[in-house]
Structures are given as structure tokens and as C-alpha cells.
Amino acid sequence: MPIDKFVTLESTYYPLPIENVDTDQIIPARFLKATTKEGFGDNLFADWRYNSDGTPKADFVLNKPEYTGSVLVAGKNFGSGSSREHAAWAVHGFGFKVVVSSFFADIFKNNSLNNGVLPVVISEGFLADLFAAGADNKVVVNLEEQTITNTANGKTESFEINSYKKNCLLNGFDDIDYLISVKDEIETYENGRA
């Protein structure tokens, strides 16, 4: 399945200033019974977002009407815990194209990239400034240049991404297509170790 091509993004964002947000919070296990990738966005952060009767919790950021956009800004160590890709599907399904934090868990980072969601690692200071700004503030994420800008104060930081993954995101390429294209080399490897 080809992923969406990533283009430069200017967007308001949802701030979630909580550290160590684990994948059980992003998508609780009871929602993992599906056999397709659709519909997970509705249950993103389900236990923080809804009361037990299913009504929205007014004080949770995703339910506050003043917050909009396709960027999630979260506290450090976002996505720790389970390897469930359902977490990335939920983030993507809600409409996020970028997640910004000062630190990400490894598996979540890989899963996000495989779904065309860009994890952007920034400094603690840059993160604190984003949390401090108002709901109308925007970030500009330029993947080609590997930069993120806080429009409130004009500060820009560079972020890391390996050139292979960057190329995949910019062009909507998919790892599985790549692996299938090198199957001959995989078979040669297998024959070499037998």
C-alpha cells in the first residue's frame, strides 16, 4: 500500500504536555480486535478523551474546539510500550501527519514512518515554547530541508531523518515494495548460508 507523499506542512497543533505517553494510552488494547486498518482514529487516546459512557471529556485537548490542525505536539518519550501499529493507525486516522516531541520510542517511530506520519524530534526548549504558545500558533515542517519552525517566535530547528526514509516519505515509497524488488538478492543470501 503506497503511503501519502509528504509535502511541506504549515499547521496549528494539538499540545499534549504529558511525558511517557504509552501506546496503551494512544490506543487501548480492547480496540485491537479489528482485522483492518480503518477506524482507529475515533479511539485515539480513548480513555483520556471519552468518559465511560462515551461522552467526550471537555478538558482533553482533542475535544477543545480552539485546537485544530494536523500536528500533535507531545511530551518526551512518546509512544513507549507495545509494538502495536494500531497506535500509528490511530494517530494517522485522526488526521495527524506529524508528531513532534523531544524523544520517541523506537518501535512507534518506525511504525509512524511506515504509515507516512513524520516523527519530528526537537529540543526540550523548543518543545516548551510550543506548549507555551496559544492555540492559534503554527509550526512549519519542511521535510526537504529537515527543519521545523515555531511561527510564534520565528525559531527554527533541524531534525534528523535518514536519507532513505526521507526519500520514501517525499515520494510515497513503501518498504515492502523495496524488499520485493530485491528478492533475488535475498535468495542469493539464503543460498550462501545453506
Binding site: 513507549s80 502495536r84 520510542a105 518501535i107 523495496y178 524488499l179 520485493i180 528478492k183
Partner: protein, 465 residues
């Protein structure tokens, strides 16, 4: 040139190719599959019109989403049943070995792999489950992957993976009586925090690790993901070889001798350099318990919950949110706090030694009134052995029920959910908010501590039982 770490040796043997400033194409020896993280991957193969590339290297078992009672009946929850049936259908269509519900080899995927000899030293092993790190106990590179990666392995037996950095965690000395592998790993995580291992693959070493049984080593490697590490591994030794020998999928005859000769080369060279090293003393470790909502929030059972001032200022809001969820206050003692639930099981502590330790500790005692206890074996083989050893009888005499195998209340995907607000002493691996059911409060501990709490109804030091 400096020597190589064990991790580097295994990784290098499995690299099909590397992409400049990108990931490696890594060949996978064993792909373990369960019902929750595989259906979308099999669907992806179908969309591409391809079948599983190397079905003989792929083994499946349903575990996350199955009931732990009445397994002979159809699964009552329709959605769960459909997911389990989908796994069966996908395995049939692709010629993948399946240990389905009711099969004598069914169980938690990370218990099933080792006990059938599917897990072997020097292998690369993946599964769409973060606790795949368990298999590192055999000196293999084993790690959890997402569903897109499951699809990669199903379709090409390879994965695209950036090479992690290496870390060595050395633990020397002897563990005190009543202190287990679980306490050891909870202690290490409490020192490193849940992000301390992120970006690294860990080798556990030192006399305290060597002295652990294979099952204890599995408990340690299982939880390496809880410090953020990609995985953890332990160099194979005689204990490892002895454990693997004779198991159904282990090499046999002349192949066995060849395999053992190769496995004996699996160690970190004396002059190898790790990117990071930690040293701990086994004597400093006491029985551990967690008080918060991530596995790094653990303390020795006799200690108090850390005061707010000891927490970094920027993390204090998160810290207080976590304690509020738990219904605890900074500075409080853990000993003597009331508990409602006990769960013994999971890929962390659901093996025979764990059931044995719990049963021996409660032998001749009675489950405390008001405590609900679920004792869930990690597999049918564990269940059968527990019955054969008379452990089931001991448990029943003490008021405990041995259930049927599955992941159960570790992640509460099935009906085994702890009610909101209740305190559950659990031998599993995660104390995240809602992990054992919406609103449930989890205290991670060893099977011995779980036993001490189960018979007293309050948090109890197992050394005083």
C-alpha cells in the same frame, strides 16, 4: 581492530545488504505470529497477490484475545472469535504452522517458541509484539515489530531495520533469597527509566545473570523493552544448550552437533566496545514493586514512594498525574497497602518456575478474603506440567484456581479485566493506565511477592512470609 559484541556478530551474519544512510535489510530466521497484529499484514499480501515467502520459518499461535476458561467452547465474543478465525484461515491459506486454540502447543507466543525449540541461539527472531525480546535469553537477536514490518517478513523473510547502538548491563554478585529475576529487571528499569535504553540493543552479563535459570533469563530479556531498548540478549552457555536439547524443533542428530559448535562461538569478544555500559550489584536489589504508571516507577518493597522534590521539575506534572491515577501520594510507604487482585501469568512470569514459586509460597496458607486471583499458565505445556507436579492441587487447597493459557489480564483484551479503581499485584510487564482494564491500577512484582500479597491482602515483603 577491536573485537565484536555478540549482537554485532549475529547482526552481521544476517545482513543481506545495507542502504547508505538508511536501514539494513536484515534476514529473519524465525517469524512468530499471533492474531492481533497479523490480519492487516496477511491482507496486504493478498492485495499484492503473493503468499508467505518462507512458511517453514513462520509459526503462529493465538494468545492475546482468547478466553482463559472454557477453551473447548467457541469464543463467546464475536469480534475476538473472528480475529482468531482469521488467523486460522490465513495460516491455512499460506501453509503456516499454527498452534490453534486447544492445540497441545497453544499458549503465549513467547512461551511457546522456547519450549518447543523454535527459539535457538544465534537466530534473528521477530514477532508483532514488543515482548519478542524474551527470546534474547537464548543469545538471539529478537525484537518486536509493527504490522507493516510483519508484512515485510511474511512477503520476503526480511525487514528494513536501522542498526541500533549496543549497551552492556553487567550485574555481579548473588541475589538475596526471595529476590528473583523479575526484581532484578524491575530494579534495572527503575535505574535507567523507560526511555534509558531507547536506541540500544542490550547485552545482559555478569555473574548474577549467569546464575539465573533459562526461565529467569527470559524474564529479564522480556522486560528489556520496558527500558525502551530494542531488545536484550544473553550469551548462550551450557544451560542454554541443555535447555534447547531434545525439543521438537531443535536440531537433531549430526545437525545438533554442528549447531552446538556454532553456538559456542556466540559471545562478546574480550576487547569489544559497547556504546554504553552500566554496572549494578545484585546485593543492592530487594523485592521490587511499582507504584506508578510506567515500569520505570519501581522501588524496593520496603521503600517509600519518592517525594515530589526528588523528581525533575519539568516531569512533576506527569509524576503527580500518575500518582493521582494510582490513588497514592508522594512519600507514602508501599508495605501494608490494600490490594484487590492478583494476576500470575504472561510472557514475563507465566512459565513453570513462576507457577511453582507461587504455589510453593502459598502452600498450606489461604488466599486472603476479598482478593481475586487469576493464575494463568503461559501455555498448555506449562498447564500440564503444573497439574503433573501437583501444583494445581496445592493452589486449589489454598483457594486459587489455575486457569487456561493465554495473555489474559496482562493486557485485558479478553474478558480477564480488573475493574476500575482496583489494585492488582501483577507478575506481568506493564502498569500503564488502563492496561489491565479501564481504570485498573497495576502493581508489577515477582510471583513470590504476588504470593505474599495474595495470602495477606496487603502489600507484603515476600521475605517476611
Amino acid at each position: 581492530m577491536a573485537g565484536k559484541t555478540l549482537f554485532d556478530k549475529i547482526w552481521d551474519m544476517h545482513e543481506v545488504k545495507t542502504i547508505e544512510d538508511g536501514p539494513s535489510v536484515l534476514y529473519i530466521d524465525r517469524h512468530l505470529v499471533h492474531e492481533v497484529t497479523s490480519p492487516q499484514a496477511f491482507a496486504g499480501l493478498k492485495d499484492r497477490g503473493i503468499k508467505v515467502f518462507r512458511p517453514q520459518n513462520t509459526f503462529a499461535t493465538p494468545d492475546h484475545n482468547i478466553p482463559t476458561i472454557n477453551q473447548h467452547l467457541p469464543i463467546a465474543d464475536e469480534v475476538s472469535r473472528f480475529q482468531v478465525d482469521t488467523l486460522t484461515k490465513n495460516c491455512e491459506e499460506n501453509n503456516v504452522t499454527l498452534f490453534g486454540l486447544g492445540h497441545p502447543k497453544n499458549g503465549v507466543v513467547h512461551v511457546v517458541g522456547p519450549e518447543n525449540g523454535i527459539t535457538q541461539p544465534g537466530m534473528t527472531i521477530v514477532c508483532g509484539d514488543s515482548h519478542t525480546s524474551t527470546h534474547g535469553a537464548f543469545g538471539s537477536i529478537a525484537f518486536g515489530i509493527g504490522t507493516s514490518e510483519v508484512e515485510m517478513v511474511l512477503s520476503t523473510q526480511c525487514i528494513m531495520q536501522p542498526r541500533p547502538k549496543t549497551m552492556k548491563i553487567n550485574i555481579e554478585g548473588e541475589l538475596e533469597e526471595g529476590v528473583t529475576a523479575k526484581d532484578l529487571v524491575l530494579y534495572v528499569i527503575s535505574k535507567l527509566t523507560t526511555g534509558g535504553g531507547t536506541g540500544y540493543f542490550v547485552e545482559f552479563a555478569g555473574s548474577a545473570i549467569r546464575n539465573l535459570s533459562m526461565e529467569g533469563r527470559m524474564t529479564v530479556c522480556n522486560m528489556s523493552i520496558e527500558m525502551g531498548a530494542r531488545g536484550g540478549l544473553i550469551a548462550p552457555d551450557e544451560k542454554t544448550i541443555e535447555y534447547v536439547k531434545g525439543r521438537e524443533y531443535a536440531p537433531q542428530g549430526a545437525d545438533w552437533d554442528t549447531a552446538v559448535a556454532k553456538w559456542k562461538e556466540l559471545y562478546t569478544d574480550a576487547d569489544a566496545v559497547f556504546d554504553k555500559e552500566y554496572n549494578f550489584a545484585a546485593a543492592d536489589i530487594e523485592p521490587m514493586i511499582t507504584y506508578g504508571t510506567n515500569p520505570g516507577m519501581g522501588i524496593g518493597i520496603t521503600q517509600n514512594i519518592p517525594a515530589l522534590e526528588t523528581v525533575e521539575e519539568s516531569s512533576q506534572t506527569t509524576y503527580l498525574k500518575s500518582l493521582e491515577y494510582m490513588g497514592y501520594a508522594p512519600g507514602e510507604a508501599m508495605i501494608g497497602k490494600k490490594i484487590d487482585w492478583v494476576f500470575v501469568g504472561s510472557c514475563t512470569n507465566g512459565r513453570i518456575e513462576d507457577i511453582r514459586a507461587f504455589a510453593n509460597a502459598v502452600k498450606g496458607k489461604k488466599k486472603a478474603e476479598g482478593v481475586t486471583a487469576w493464575i494463568v499458565p503461559g501455555s498448555h505445556q506449562v498447564e500440564d506440567q503444573a497439574i503433573a507436579e501437583g501444583l494445581k492441587d496445592i493452589l486449589e487447597e489454598a483457594g486459587f484456581e489455575l486457569r487456561q493459557p493465554g495473555c489474559s489480564a496482562c493486557l485485558a483484551m479478553n474478558d480477564d479485566k480488573v475493574p476500575a479503581g482496583k489494585y492488582s499485584v501483577s507478575t506481568s510487564n506493564r502498569n500503564f493506565e488502563g492496561r489491565q482494564g479501564p481504570g485498573a491500577r497495576t502493581l508489577l512484582a515477582s510471583p513470590l511477592t504476588a504470593a505474599a500479597c495474595a495470602v495477606t491482602g496487603v502489600i507484603t515483603d515476600p521475605r517476611t512470609l
